[in-house]
Amino acid sequence: MKNRKLQRVLALGLLAVMVLALAGCNKKDDGDIKNFTMFIAMAGSEINDDNEIQQIIAEKTGVKVKETWLTGQTAAEAVGSIIAGGDYPDFIDGGDGMMALYDEGVLVPWDEYLDKYPNLKEMYSDKEWDSFRQEDGHIYWANVFQNTYGENRATTHNDEAFWIQVRVLEWAGYPQIKTLDQYFDVLTRFAEANPTFKDADVIPYTALCEDWKYFCIENAPEFLDGYPNDGSVIVDASSGTPTIVDYNTTPTAKKYFQKLNEQYLAGNIDIEFATQTYDEYIAKLSTGRVLGMCDQWWDFAYTVNDVFKQQGLDKLGCNYVPLGLTIEEGMENRWHTYDDTLNNSSGVAVTTSCKDIDAAFKFLNDILDQEIHDLRFWGVEGVDYLVDEDGMYYRTEEMRTKCADPAYQASHLCNYSYMPQWLGTSHDGKNAMQPNEQASEFFDGLAEPLVKCFEAYNADSYPDMIGSVVEHNQPWFPMYSFSNAMTTDTPGGKAWVKMGEVKHEWLPRVVMSSNFESEWNAYMDAYKAANPQNFLDEMQQELNRRVEAAAE
């Protein structure tokens, strides 16, 4: 009797499992919607499988893309293991690993699809597309960022800077801060006067040193000398012939690290700066107790500003504004890049594992349609934004707060943030492509302390705050698009890896050292042993090539 009962229960259980499995199968190919996968070799957050806007886009385009992100590995390791495993997603953005994927021959050339799909073709001029061509003459990927349609609407400083919380500036009476000395002076004076924030000790300054994001401590010397973000080197064109200069060994570099060292010993720099992970760093910034740091806007602002808004910390003046510091007072600064930056070393690619390559390219094309683009960045009309009688999009304060909520972002919003996209002005000629560039949105969304700060410095936007020289990019800019794509097959590439290893170890050591001079000399010895000249020579060659190519 008892046995019977057990059997029945078992049978029911099995049935339930089968039904669930069947339901699962059905869900996989709902209607005619094609499911693609995408791997992005960057940290990011996955959205829910039943995300609402993703579903709307799927119904309109017939394609749904499941994005997965980097977790706990470096980009190179992740791409390396994908190559070793031979199991490729349909779309991939391999970051620094693009060349490895190209060498492997698993990327699909874009050329024929560019002619077929006008939205894609429109992304870049012929000359710009040519710069994406690899040795075999084909285009395999397109960078999706920093690409402006129509009029430029930039309101943020989407670049690197020394950032400072507005509450510090307000407390100090909005002083002019032009040099490192002035910067650290105001940070430490504020920290002395206000040692805690929300029951936790304030941290005057921190610097991220993890993996490739160690640029937060590493590349400030190029900017402090007044050069733009060539990333891995300085290009000095003052003598007429553009020449590569190594910013790691300049007197400015030494001064900068000496300053950090002095501040570290005085207890003004986070003692965990060298060992914190990116997640810990973001968590730390999100508490509002870090007064300043050097970083790229995109590296922290999207996450941290959303938390500030959620927690009401923006009203307490926790938001960061950029300062255009230089090593001496009165120098020009080039922290801000006004033109689009074309980084042709990485971007979105379609792999040969994709079952329906044409559909993949069609999707890349479709999501640039204004209607879909609006869905991606503005959301659903009436829910995430409203339209006034002039056709201008706007959000209510409630909508803004909702859109900053991570849970809502996962369940409702779908940016496809590493897919082709535009900055600048919408096809309607009025609105901005992305809400943070809509002037009205920008100002209405600013918390009061930020508005007061902008007024005090007579600035209309973040770029005004940093006050960089307004100029066009040089034809070779940015040089990092070459160094990012280097492989260890060349002496320069090998040196580049070694230099990175040396700097990863020694920069924090130098900052934490109790005897700066001897530690700096030891660092310089270790650095020279990595043969940086091999790297610089290859950079110079590439620079010459770019200068010649531009002259043609």
């Binding site: 470096t74 190559i83 070793a84 031979g86 040193c209 003692i271 965990e272 492989t487 924090p508 934490m512």
Partner: protein, 305 residues
């Protein structure tokens, strides 16, 4: 002694056992010996696109690069140092722990302690390193205690100093594996003839004398066998702990051969160099295990083969 000849009848009788063994032999060939074919990569400039057959042969060039690379030499040092440190610490701790546990009279208490102590074995390293990372962070429990007790003025960042790294790794291994490793010794201790203890008691031996003269000699064969097996594992000093706890500052002491293999083989896409490093590791492991075995043979101890 003359070896006995194996008769068909005997084979027939042991048919079932032979089939079982054959399964494992096949398993071993497929999963342990076939992959060794991949060692070929170490002598090529292997590119996944070209495969084994079309990649360019480079002879011992990869090995030459390996041994002229200062990083690799440092990595060998780290691996050996952490391997030996881990071996000594976990080995000694397990024996000590097993003997102590054996001396506990109260059966419930003994069971309870044993269960609790081997539980960490089932935690994955990612969790163990997570706990360590939190406990040792500047606002973690260790720093808090040290500061509150007045031992330190300001918290220290344990992960920023090279000197702390090896001890932290050894401690993590001890914490995780002591209870588990002690199980074997506890089993060995129970197999010691109780009459020996009784005789010793009559002779007036105290606890300490009994441990020294009965328990330790009783488990000596087990200790030797485990030691030989573990010596072969010295170069498996770990991957996860060092990978997860390491950072740029302590990289020169934290990187092990396995991490080196990952960096070059997978991140830099140089499978050949990674394989060469892997081969080196295997060869050293074989040498170590044979040497330990020979040593045991000479001293007349229990041995593996």
């Amino acid at each position: 002694m003359k070896a006995k000849r194996i008769s068909w009848k005997e084979l027939k009788n042991q048919k079932f056992l032979l089939i079982c063994t054959a399964c494992f032999v096949v398993y071993g060939i497929i999963f342990y010996y076939l992959p060794l074919g991949g060692w070929i990569m170490a002598f090529q400039n292997y590119k996944t696109k070209d495969g084994f057959f079309d990649s360019q042969w480079v002879g011992f060039e990869k090995f030459k690069f390996l041994f002229s690379d200062a990083t690799f030499l440092r990595v060998i040092r780290n691996t050996l140092a952490m391997g030996v440190l881990n071996l000594v610490c976990t080995f000694v701790m397990a024996i000590v722990f097993a003997i102590l546990l054996n001396e506990v009279r109260l059966a419930i208490g003994k069971k309870f302690v044993q269960t609790v102590s081997y539980l960490p074995h089932f935690l994955s390293w990612i969790i163990v390193t997570g706990i360590l990372h939190d406990a040792l962070s500047s606002s973690g429990i260790i720093n808090e205690l040290l500061v509150k007790l007045g031992i330190l003025d300001t918290p220290i960042n344990f992960f920023a100093h090279k000197g702390y790294f090896w001890p932290i790794v050894a401690f993590a291994n001890v914490w995780k594996e002591t209870g588990w490793n002690a199980i074997v010794y506890l089993a060995a201790i129970t197999s010691i003839d109780p009459s020996l203890y009784e005789a010793a008691t009559i002779d007036g031996a105290g606890r300490w004398a009994k441990i020294k003269n009965i328990t330790l000699p009783g488990i000596r064969p087990t200790i030797m066998i485990l030691l030989i097996m573990n010596i072969g594992n010295v170069l498996n000093a770990g991957f996860e702990v060092q990978y997860l706890l390491g950072n740029g500052l302590v990289k020169s002491v934290s990187e092990t051969i396995d991490i080196y293999t990952l960096t070059w083989g997978v991140s830099q896409n140089d499978f050949s160099l990674g394989t060469a490093a892997g081969i080196f590791k295997s060869v050293v492991a074989i040498i170590l295990i044979v040497a330990a075995n020979q040593f045991a043979k000479k001293t007349g101890e229990q041995r593996l083969f």
